[in-house]
Amino acid sequence: MKILGISAHYHDSAAALVVDGVPVCAVQEERLSRRKNDAAFPGRAIDWCLAHGRVEPEELDAVVFYERSMLKFERILTCALRAFPRSWRSFPHAIRNTLGEKVWMRGIISSYLGVPRQKIFFTDHHASHAAAAFLAAPTRCAAILTADGVGEWATLTAGRGERRPDGTTEIALAREIRFPHSLGMLYSTFTAYLGFAVNEDEYKVMGLAAYGRPTMLDEMQKLVRRTPDGAFTLAPEYFEFQTTASRSYSSKFIDLFGPARSPYDPIDLESPEGRRFADCAASVQRVLEDLLVDLARQLRRDTGLSDLCFGGGVALNGVANARVLAESGFERVFVPPAPGDAGCALGAALYADRLYFHQRDRDVPDHPFWGPAVDAEELARAAREDGQPVEELDDPAAIERVADELAAGRIVGWMEGACEFGPRALGHRSILAAPHAREMRDRLNRDIKCREEFRPFAPVVPIESADRYFDLPPGGARLARFMSGVFPVRPEWRSRLAAVTHVDGSARVQVVDREMAPRLHALLDAYGRRTGIPVLLNTSFNVAGEPIVTRALEGYSTFRRAGIDVLAAGSTLVRKPALAPARPGKEDIAWWSESVAGSGAV
């Protein structure tokens, strides 16, 4: 069976193609449209998936949308009614926004692909999350927990999944917590309050939390109340996300926590105001962690299972994931590489395959590399046209050369194979650098990523050496496979891994095994032979505000604009000249129009 999964309209939209029960490809729309967090209908992603899978639209057996649009509309309308008359400002916007496109998904998909309407299917939003987490994980039977901002009505679900010996599959979500009581919305509200972009900068709150102390837990208790059955509710008087789209926290919230931070003000951690914001972040982070640990413990007790599959946007919180692993009683925690809404495209397709069409269960390859591949020739051609030095080496020589460059303190843009599906750069579209000195972190923040100094960088380490440098609990390596957990750096190594050690001594480490990423593994080995420490700093290959690069030319344009010293696409290397050629001022238009050709000056 050929099944296309689609997610769209709320966060980063995506498409995924599943053929005979196995994913063939998946890509987020932003990677092709080059608009970060592109939530538009993923036409480019769909076209690429079909072209890559060599499937014509009429050959598709089903197209599955990742949620039930009308049920979502019902929730939006009901919330507007419940908030009457306070919702009068947001009502026209919400209705126009929803009726404009979002509720007509069957017709839109049908007309875009030219497939009959009866081939278009829908899944529950959280069922898609559950399927993405469970069906892609190497486990036969597991508890399932999903948590995000909101789907249709559910914000958090719990249940179990099983692959039976007869090849059938079961995903049984048993209970849910419903909007507006939402861990994702709670965290997003603090994201907005702290002056960061909602649905994008939640990880900044997590990074900032390490600088603060959870001194506001009493205040937090007024916002979040536990219920006798072990769930939680949010106190509605402190929030406005359920009544208006313009602000997610209320005046009462500000009375409790103080004035919100302007997005344009820097966070000065030396000032009382900066410390207050850090303490706010630490407090909401602690509450999120405590709740997740409690919910996971409860689920462990109810199911008696040793594996947990955790999906939804909240599963991107690596600090909370590590605590769930350490404290909930689960022996293994599986978080997919794309736990957010983009991953639902794959989840919806797998769900339909196994549960709507009752296809036999198949193992899903345990890696995140489902996107477009890099074309090294494209890079070589562009670089030569610009007069840049190009080296086309054989593979072992290229890896040795890159290791030399890294050991010499240079920053390398590293592209190979298919790009990652999900928000993390896991070694196919990464910027790599030596992890030893704090100055490297500052240089990356200043010259390339242009981001706040409190945000940490992640290390990548071969699985064979991970325990030596990082304090991984049992099951930690699995969680770190897709960079889904934050773990302590061993104290004796912190000074030598200063660029990747966060202020609290932790790191969001990626553990690489040879099977999943053989070239990155070989590079780490080669770097380890030179420096004695087979650990590299690994950050996503993009600059602020842009999606991670996909094609070689996108990597090349980023390389030209940012302070990256060496660019590698497969075994093709381009190195920036040590001295940039002199060039005249921009008033000399003749030079810029003619002499610049071939000079590589720009």
Binding site: R82, F91, F122, I177
Partner: protein
């Protein structure tokens, strides 16, 4: 080669409006922050143009242009942030944000698949208009030397952008370059019309929905609130089979 700009006739006519906008610190702040977003989005679009063009010279020039635009965005953002910090008492504003539905940089131009001559003509017309307007703005912020200095710096870059796009347009399309420029001007006007029309339609739609909200919704609102009070808190069991309706959007 086009002359160094002094502002389009329409902008010169609108000078009193521009003066009114720039005189007020809050409006100035919002204007700067809007410019920051527009320049940054435009810069990203031009990066994309550099990535998709097959012309190596254009690739280099586009990259240079994009770096300028991204820097301008940063300059505007920093200045806006500084003004924001200086502002002591937040004031209510008449209109929050731009009422006209804008695009992602470059007026929603789709870069992929756009031929170079069309993009160059579009960029030339857009840069010329921007340079003219910035020349007027520069004069209107005499009381604010830092903002004025930013406009001066950006204006120099805009003149370069205006000139290189024109020079390159004559290179890639030596026979039809004038027609392309006129086509770009017409398209720009059409896009403006669409933005205004969409804004008017949006306002009319909002007005109708607001009337419906107050006329039709109260009884349903009462029912919804009553139902909300009866909702259980905490865990809600999921009925078995709820997810087994593959074709339902409900």
């Amino acid at each position: 080669m086009p002359a160094v700009t002094r502002g389009a006739p329409l902008d010169r006519l609108m000078r009193p409006v521009h003066r009114w906008v720039w005189r007020d610190r809050d409006r100035r702040l919002r204007k700067l922050l809007t410019f920051a977003d527009v320049e940054t989005d435009g810069g990203r679009d031009i990066v994309r143009a550099a990535e998709v063009t097959s012309d190596p010279l254009l690739r280099r020039l586009y990259l240079e242009h994009a770096i300028d635009e991204l820097r301008h965005g940063d300059l505007f953002r920093r200045r806006g942030a500084a003004l924001s910090r200086e502002r002591r008492t937040p004031r209510n504003v008449l209109l929050d944000g731009n009422p006209l539905p804008g695009g992602h940089g470059l007026d929603d131009l789709s870069i992929d698949g756009e031929p170079d001559h069309r993009l160059l003509a579009f960029l030339h017309v857009a840069e010329k208009a921007a340079a003219g307007r910035f020349a007027i703005y520069r004069e209107l912020v005499d009381d604010d030397p830092e903002t004025r200095a930013i406009f001066e710096q950006i204006l120099r870059d805009e003149v370069f952008h205006m000139n290189y796009t024109y020079t390159q347009l004559t290179r890639v399309s030596p026979r039809d370059y004038r027609r392309h420029v006129w086509h770009a001007r017409t398209k720009r006007l059409w896009n403006r019309y669409l933005r205004v029309a969409a804004a008017i339609a949006g306002l009319a739609g909002s007005a109708m929905l607001t009337v419906m909200y107050f006329v039709l919704l109260p009884p349903f609102a009462w029912l919804a609130k009553r139902a909300e009070r009866r909702e259980p808190i905490g865990w809600t069991p999921i009925a078995p089979g709820r997810a087994d309706s593959p074709r339902s959007q409900y």
